[in-house]
């Protein structure tokens, strides 16, 4: 691929696809005629966003935009521009904005709509080099605070900023610090909660791996504010890269005396150690986390007394989440007023979301609070792949609930998500499309909480298991309408009678899918059908008339249940079929659909 010139032809769906293919063919044949075929690369790409202007061409080098190109113009472009290097003025598009759009990262919506505070250094600095963090004003906030502030001023600034805990609870970080500061004790502790356990959330990992020093600096600031001289980072052992980089970062900070004794000659001492967690979901709860650090089984205990009064080894302790901490140095560099000006009235700042599931741009995005779910999913996330229909989005992982199409325009903040029956949680956002069975999704999350329940309270230990058994029955086609009512009763009871957040929120996925997709539950129970074609016992795959006989399905079938000659419509032997769905995935023309079982008789 060492062509001198590259011609990019917009082949997006909005412009007629046919037109672009015709153009490409015209270019190909003309270039062959003038013997330049080897010098020019013709690339058919996705939409350039200028579709109302008709077929768009971009010629590199030089990034010349041509709009409204027809077959007749091909000759002129080839002769004048490609051969002689003189762009055809008549067809050129001169909108400067449109040209920039292709060039700059910030012009791509994915970056343009984001505001990076917690992730400001991720992907920018070398996490293994403290100097690069310092080059980005690292440890400046800590230095300024130690030289010229009192602990109470620091706490006041935090309260003023309105920062709320990003781990899920959403409690005011400043107030938390105030409680810990007010406790009188000879020894206090700061803990960083890096036990990120939500399936589908990985923002804490990204911060620890990409910018570990911001967490260390924030912990030292917190230590100064509440009067602690020892910090612990409780991080899952499943994050080996993060652990390694944290150890390295702590060593580097110690070598420069940014941790250790008498930091900045202020008489303030602060050290940080790492404690590895075994990856138990319940240890994300602060009292369970503290028990785990102390060497006991990770089980939550009754609050009060809160950790701010009696925490680690009975001493006042402040626990903050990684993402919360990553925001803190910036708040002190730019001021609480600046931070407060971002986001909504009661939820200031930004939130990082981990986009996953059926979405084009899986990854981490950080947006100001108040951005709508639709903007996050469609504009930043790029929408649903394979032209499928959006069905629901699950926020808050196994503790949250699903949000449907009609609520997509809700601005994201702590209260709004709670009102929708979901929650902010740690910021996992799993998008589901029409191929997802909501009963199966609810069962998946419940499966997770059944495994992760610590077993202390009966409602959570036994109740979630009973709920899962009911869901299993429904998915296998053995369910009754009474089972659905039973699910609701059990769910409410578990919510009301569990001790910690895990149990109180465990039924949420079931209750919210029951609320929004009750008809799917009913279809499973009454019609014995899985509308999405996921639950194996209730699905029946059928090959439809538009089969092109490519034989891909037959080759992918693990049990040889598909027969048919090439170029002829294939058939599935229902008796042999195990309903794995491999054929459906492999079909290039979507000719395989899942029909409800009840239709099997009529077919």
């Amino acid at each position: 691929m060492l062509e001198r010139v590259q011609v990019i032809i917009c082949g997006g769906t909005e412009c007629s696809n046919v037109e672009s293919v015709v153009l490409k063919d015209a270019f190909e044949s003309y270039l062959e005629k003038i013997d330049m075929k080897d010098e020019v690369a013709l690339i058919l790409t996705g939409s350039k966003g200028l579709c109302p202007l008709g077929p768009v061409l971009v010629v590199y080098p030089g990034e010349i935009f041509y709009t409204d190109v027809t077959e007749k113009d091909v000759k002129e472009i080839c002769e004048e521009h490609l051969k002689k290097g003189k762009p055809v003025q008549r067809l050129m598009y001169n909108d400067f904005e449109a040209q920039k759009r292709i060039k700059k990262n910030s012009q791509v919506k994915f970056y343009g709509m984001q505001k990076r505070i917690a992730l400001r250094n991720c992907g920018v600095i070398n996490p293994l080099d403290i100097n690069e963090y310092i080059a980005r004003d690292g440890y400046k906030a800590l230095g300024e605070i130690l030289v010229s502030s009192t602990p109470q001023q620091v706490v006041d600034e935090m309260i003023k900023s309105g920062l709320r805990g990003r781990g899920g609870g959403g409690f005011s970080t400043g107030k938390k610090w105030q409680f810990a500061k007010n406790s009188i004790s000879d020894k206090k502790y700061v803990i960083c909660n890096a036990d990120e356990g939500d399936p589908g959330a990985f923002m804490d990992r990204a911060v620890l791996e990409g910018d570990p020093h911001s967490v260390l600096e924030a912990m030292a600031i917190c230590g100064f504010a509440i009067g602690a001289d020892q910090g612990y980072i409780y991080v899952r052992a499943e994050y080996p890269v993060a652990v390694e980089r944290l150890y390295h970062a702590i060593d580097e900070a110690r070598a420069l005396n940014l941790l250790g004794d008498n930091i900045f000659n202020s008489g303030f001492n602060f050290n940080i150690d790492i404690r590895l967690g075994a990856g138990a979901f319940v240890c994300g709860e602060e009292t369970a986390l503290i028990a785990s650090i102390e060497g006991y089984r990770g089980m939550p205990r009754l609050k009060p007394p809160f950790p701010a009064v009696r925490g680690l080894w009975g001493k006042p302790t402040n626990v903050n989440n990684v993402e919360t901490l990553a925001n803190i140095p910036v708040i002190f560099l730019k001021g609480a007023d600046w931070f407060k000006s971002i986001g909504t009235k009661d939820s200031s700042g930004t939130k990082v979301f981990a986009l996953g599931g059926k979405i084009n741009n899986t990854g981490l995005v950080e947006v100001p609070m108040g951005t709508t779910l639709r903007e996050v999913i469609y504009d930043i996330g790029g929408g649903i792949p394979n032209k499928r229909q959006f069905k629901a989005v699950q926020t808050g992982g196994p503790s949250g609930g699903c949000i449907t199409e009609k609520d997509l325009d809700t601005p994201i903040d702590f209260e709004n998500l709670k009102n929708l029956g979901s929650m902010m949680g740690s910021g996992g956002m799993i998008v589901m499309d029409e191929d997802n069975c909501m009963v199966d999704v609810a069962r998946f999350y419940l499966d997770f909480t059944v495994d992760e329940s610590c077993g202390k309270c009966t409602p959570c230990r036994e109740g979630t298991k009973q709920m899962r058994d009911i869901l299993d029955r429904i998915c296998e086609g053995q369910g009754t309408m009474k089972d659905i009512d039973q699910l609701e009763v059990l769910g409410r009871m578990i919510q009301e009678t569990s001790l910690c957040g895990l149990g109180q929120t465990a039924p949420n996925p079931v209750l919210s899918t029951l609320k929004h997709f009750r008809d799917e539950y009913v279809a499973h129970v009454v019609d014995k059908a899985c509308p999405a074609g996921v639950c194996r016992e209730l699905t029946n795959f059928v090959i439809e008339e538009n089969c092109i006989g490519c034989t891909k399905c037959a080759r992918n079938c693990p049990v040889n249940a598909i027969s048919g000659w090439p170029k002829q419509i294939h058939r599935i032997d229902i008796d042999l079929c195990i309903g794995c769905g491999a054929c459906k995935k492999s079909c290039p023309v979507s000719a395989i659909s899942s029909q409800p079982k009840r239709q099997e008789a009529s077919l």
Binding site: I102, G123, G138, T362
Partner: protein, 122 residues
């Protein structure tokens, strides 16, 4: 670290190093090496960049690793920042295309547009 002045001096020095000030025609290559990047094969890409820079004696290029850039779906990624601060994000790199990027962008000063994230995302 004893005073704010000391920190500021270190900051200025590090910033100069990071921006490669005083080096003509400089390039900083940042390879995304978060768990997501490593899982999709960023480590061999980093080695390709390092060995190419060493082999071709490119003194104006610094290769460094960074964390996750957020676009996990497009890993392995590398960002090239030129002396004007213009950033080019290359995505879905392979060992062959990484070599091509060095050859064409860094040596011949011509960005490989078809591999850019902005081209792929449109």
């Amino acid at each position: 670290m004893k005073t704010l002045d000391e920190l500021k001096k270190l900051r200025d020095k590090s910033l100069d190093q990071m921006m490669m000030r005083g080096i003509n025609n400089s390039f900083r290559i940042q390879v995304g090496l978060g768990t997501c990047g490593i899982a999709s094969g960023a480590k061999p890409i980093l080695s390709v960049f390092l060995s190419e820079v060493e082999e071709k004696k490119l003194d104006n290029v610094s290769v460094t690793q960074v964390g996750c850039m957020g676009e996990c779906a497009y890993e392995p990624m590398a960002e090239i920042i030129d002396q004007h601060g213009q950033s080019f994000v290359y995505c879905n790199l392979t060992e062959a295309t990484a070599k091509e990027v060095i050859e064409r962008h860094v040596i011949n000063q011509e960005p490989v547009l078809r591999l850019l994230l902005t081209t792929k995302k449109g």
